[in-house]
């Protein structure tokens, strides 16, 4: 998994390597400085030798400058490497999502893909930066400081040997114990979010049923639970506060070392085995050793936390698009005929839970076909098999007499234009949205398509006409207008087959009729599949297909079906009752 993620480092490999290299240099100098400082005290200050003080002081300033240089470089490289890594990772994920089929998209919810692309990546980025800086720095610092301390005085450094394991084990134990509790806290936070979100969304229900008190109780309950869990988790951490300065465990370790060093140090100094300068440098090393231990434990926790994010990212990177390009793709769709041959389909590829059962259907090029049926009768599923939005579980779908699986994906999708039920316009001008259908469409072509879809009239009524800016999701046009824009966009593809999946539901019946009339007169050669709720939308079609429970319940013209199809008649009557 880690390896998979690391593949995204690419051009930032250099920075990723240079960062720890610079860090190492920085550490080496930083460890040397206390050593030189002890020299300054012993040979300079204690002896009152000004020239030594100046000389060594100069060396310290010089070393500090070099260390500063490496510090700046390492900080720079680490920032470069981690932000670059995050960029590539995000890009790789996004690109893979672009390859996803609908089935892949359905598997991950939209919001989950978004969180993975944002929050999870940020977590990984922080962890990566930590690893190439701190995770290199601290063990090195620990090792060097131990070596230096030992080189100052071997016996004295034994003190560290006592305290390091105590501190290390203590830190790990606390982390291990607190972690599960914190997970619980986060889960409860989700509950809290859920209560607030439901409340915000349903505020009209809350207020009209006068249930504010009930909501308050519900919230207070979760809030109380968070309070208790959080307090419990943080009490566990009380031995190792969030800040070094407030960690009793760290304080104990530092203070223990100080007292021990003072005691033995004094004896050694008096015994002539140690100088006062060396004593102060030992104390500096104490701080460095314990600090790095503390940081290591922090990095450790951080890595544990980011592991979940890494897994979630890897899931996206690993997801294989389940619709693939054929090896020798057919690049031209000869005509707009469609044939379903014994087609079965299940979203879960589970043959016991079929959404479409044994469909056989033949549509001639240029025909207009109406499809009607209740919610859940798999109308949408049926048409989505034509441009290979999903692949059949069993059987074959032919377009222009050729199996759809043999076509180049782009060819088949451009030749079969679908106006989805859940229509989306993107932020940008109307023109820009139209050019999704055909990048090189002229203004004239756009206008024509919009006229066909009965959209031209209202677009011209906008002050900015075709340059009107559409907000995200098309929220500044009405439902009916949005649907007509989407139809126009689909027409610009100049397809062989046009599929309207309940695409005129918000358009008034008169305009709906006008659109159908325009289709019949202006684009007679295009095969048109119209899924609709309203009988009036499909009444004039060459063939009407009635779907029920994933099967074709009846095929025929309006009159034929009225005659011999019970469902069709029922729907017709229920709608006519309101319209007489």
């Amino acid at each position: 998994m880690i390896k998979k993620l690391l593949r995204s480092v690419r051009e930032y490999k250099k920075a990723s390597i240079l960062a720890p290299v610079c860090v190492s240099m920085e550490v080496i100098i930083e460890v040397t400085i206390p050593f030189i400082m002890s020299f300054l005290i012993d040979n300079g200050i204690n002896k009152g030798d000004m020239s030594t003080i100046l000389k060594i002081g100069g060396i310290i300033v010089f070393l500090a400058c070099i260390s500063l240089l490496f510090g700046v470089l390492s900080g720079n490289f680490a920032a470069r490497a981690s932000s670059g890594f995050a960029k590539n990772l995000r890009k790789d994920m996004y690109y893979n999502v672009q390859r996803f089929s609908f089935a892949n998209i359905d598997k991950f919810s939209t919001s989950s893909i978004i969180t993975r692309l944002t929050t999870d990546i940020t977590n990984i980025q922080m962890a990566y930066q930590m690893i190439i800086r701190v995770a290199v720095r601290c063990p090195l610092m620990l090792a060097f400081s131990l070596i230096m301390a030992a080189s100052v005085n071997k016996r004295m450094s034994l003190i560290f040997l006592c305290i390091v394991p105590v501190l290390g084990i203590g830190l790990l134990l606390i982390a291990a114990k607190a972690h599960p509790t914190f997970e619980k806290v986060f889960k409860t936070y989700d509950r809290l979010n859920n209560v607030v979100q439901e409340n915000l969304r349903g505020i009209r229900v809350v207020k009209s049923f006068v249930r504010e008190e009930h909501e308050k109780e519900k919230f207070a309950d979760v809030s109380e639970r968070i309070y208790r869990l959080f307090t419990k988790a943080e009490r566990l951490l009380a031995l190792n506060g969030p800040l070094m300065q407030f960690s009793p465990l760290m304080q104990f370790s530092i203070y223990f070392c100080m007292v021990m060093i003072s005691w033995f140090g004094a004896r050694y100094v008096i015994g002539g085995k140690l100088t006062t300068g060396q004593l102060t440098s030992l104390i500096s090393y104490t701080m460095q050793i314990l600090m790095s231990l503390m940081m290591i434990s922090m990095v450790f926790v951080m890595i544990i936390i980011s592991r979940a994010s890494a897994e979630r990212i890897a899931e996206i990177l690993d997801e294989k698009p389940d619709i693939v390009q054929p090896e020798k793709p057919v690049l031209k769709v000869p005509d707009g005929s469609i044939r379903f041959e014994n087609v079965s389909f299940s979203y879960a590829s589970n043959k016991n839970n079929l959404c479409l059962k044994n469909i056989n259907l033949e549509i001639k090029s240029g025909q207009t076909v109406g499809i009607i049926g209740g919610t859940g009768s798999s109308k949408t599923t049926l048409v989505q098999l034509i441009p290979r939005i999903y692949d059949v579980t069993d059987g074959t779908v032919y377009v222009g007499g050729i199996n759809v699986k043999a076509y180049d994906l782009e060819t088949i999708r451009n030749s079969v234009s679908v106006v989805l039920q859940k229509n989306v316009l993107f932020s940008g001008t109307i023109k820009e949205n139209m050019r999704w259908g055909d990048e090189n469409a002229t203004d004239e072509e756009i206008k024509n398509a919009c006229k066909l879809a009965c959209a031209d009239e209202f677009i011209e009524a906008f002050p900015d006409g075709y340059d009107t800016y559409i907000e995200q999701g098309g929220s500044n046009v009405s439902g009916g207008q949005r649907q007509r824009l989407c139809i126009a966009r689909a027409l610009l593809k100049k397809p062989e087959i046009l599929i309207l999946d309940d695409s005129t539901s918000a358009v008034d019946t008169r305009t709906d009729a006008l659109i159908r009339e325009a289709f019949a007169n202006k684009i007679p050669d295009i095969t048109k599949l119209i899924i609709a709720q309203r009988i009036s939308s499909v009444k004039d079609a060459d063939v009407i297909v009635v779907m029920e429970g994933g099967e074709i319940n009846g095929i025929g013209t309006h009159e034929e079906l009225l005659e011999n199809n019970k469902i069709y008649r029922e729907v017709y009557e229920s709608q006519m009752k309101g319209d007489e």
């Binding site: 200050i45 932000s83 004094a266």
Partner: protein
Amino acid sequence: MPRLGGGKPKNMGMTVKRLLSYVFKGYGFNFLLVLLCIIISAVAGVNGSMFLRALVDDYITPMLKSGSSDFTPLFHALVTLALIYLSGIIATYLYNVLMVGVAQGVLKKIRDEMFNHMQTLPIRYFDTHAHGDVMSYYTNDADTLRQMISQSIPQTFSSLITVIAVFFAMLKTNVILTALIVVFVFCMMIISKKVGGMSAKYFIHQQKSLGKLNGYIEEMINGQKVVKVFCHEEQSKEGFDVLNGELCENMYQAHKFANILMPIMGNLAHVQYALVAIAGGVLALNGISGITLGSIVSFLTLSRSFTMPISQISQQINSIVMALAGAERIFTLLDEKPERDEGYVSIVNAKYDGDRLVECEEHTGIWAWKHPHGDGTLTYSEVRGRVEFDDVDFGYNKNKIVLHGVSLVAEPGKKIAFVGATGAGKTTITNLINRFYYIADGKIRYDGININKIKKADLRRSQGMVLQDTNLFTGTVKENILYGKPGASDEEVIAAAKLANAHGFITRLPDGYDTMLTANGSELSQGQRQLISIARAAISDPPVMILDEATSSIDTRTEAIVQKGMDSLMHGRTVFVIAHRLSTVKNSDIIMVLEGGRIIERGSHKQLVEERGKYYQLYTGAFEPE
């Protein structure tokens, strides 16, 4: 989407004061204890670094000079030191334990207050605030607040104490060297402010480009299926690459400056160390200001304890400013004005005692208005459900009136329908009846009582509502139905479900009435959810019902099923219906056609069709109802 870079808080002083009042109100004693613990802990720490000077000057050097090997005084001193340290450690531990309680307690209080206050806010507030934004008050802003209370404030306080203690210790040792250090530290702070400022600047850029990228991803992923159908993957990638690159650059800059701050501070401290050594040496050798060689050593140690807490403070300042911005946002929510409720007429259960209506405890199916008068007497009148609008004007803001001179009478038990294009004001009218919004002019009377005089809760309780968005809550089916009438018996729940035509499918659910529902509702179809929301309205048995596009998102065949539930629900009540399917509206007693906030036609279906006006056009499909 995360909110863009936290702006600076506007009124820091007030915010801090208000925040502290939360801390002191409930946790004053504990908080004082916390401060005391911090002082003990900090003083113990300072004491330790001062001891090093004593170790060399008072013990080692004299012993070296005298050549004595009596370690008892040192031993005693170390035991004292160990005890001081121990008290420091205990104080730290106590601080941690106490602080958790204080911080979490304050947070819980603020959280609860926020939510409770939110429940009192008018609908207008919810209309004008993005839900994601409000939710982040409870999470992001509350979290920065927690960090500030439990970490930033204590650390700053502790650092401050350390700095003061060390400063006096340094001053005592040598004035000139202290001055030197103060100047140097001052320079360090300027540099850190510069670098920190750069970092902050880019962090804001980073947040902005992150917001942009998030927006792009959200839009594209939401429309992913459209992207695929149009083979628009390449363009979608291109757009992404631009924003992604921009984000990467800003992120790089922000982190670069943040990363180099520590090495700069650390190495400047080294430089300072060397400078102090040299300056001290010069002073000592020339006999200026009476410094001894020994005291230079201790001064050097002190100087390090001086710079450390200062750089810690400078690091904390940023997060404190951010947290205060969060606190300010929370306080704006708390300061939002709640709904007014000047009503005094209430609704009670009642029964007839002969001819007289008397109040009673039990549910009788009869509701009465309880009308207190100035002279202390009470009168009762039965709730019948007659609603009257008298020349009502309304606007969401004062300059834009959306309803003009609306007058209508809904007699008890009648069905009133509103039709018209989006934005004609249909939903607005129904939202005035239950006082979600306040009218600008005119009067609305409910059984002859001005609705301003009716207690809001009672007013709303007497009106059931079924909306297009079902808004069920996480919980069992039964809990959701009970939402309409808390404390109702199982029989009542089942009766309501039967009335709504929902009993049948509920019993077929895996756990029947105890089946858990979640907010996103994957367990049920849209139609089934709507049936439950109808049952929820039915159980409260209100005299007035409002159905706002209740069947719009259901297909016609399913609607036929839901309709049965609706019909039995509507029976015997005053009903207001909004629908764009005319089949739903046709059999209403009166149909009101709205256009531009005015009622332009009214009458029964038959009358309106004969009139050949707007309704006739609408009915024959000549203009878009939605």
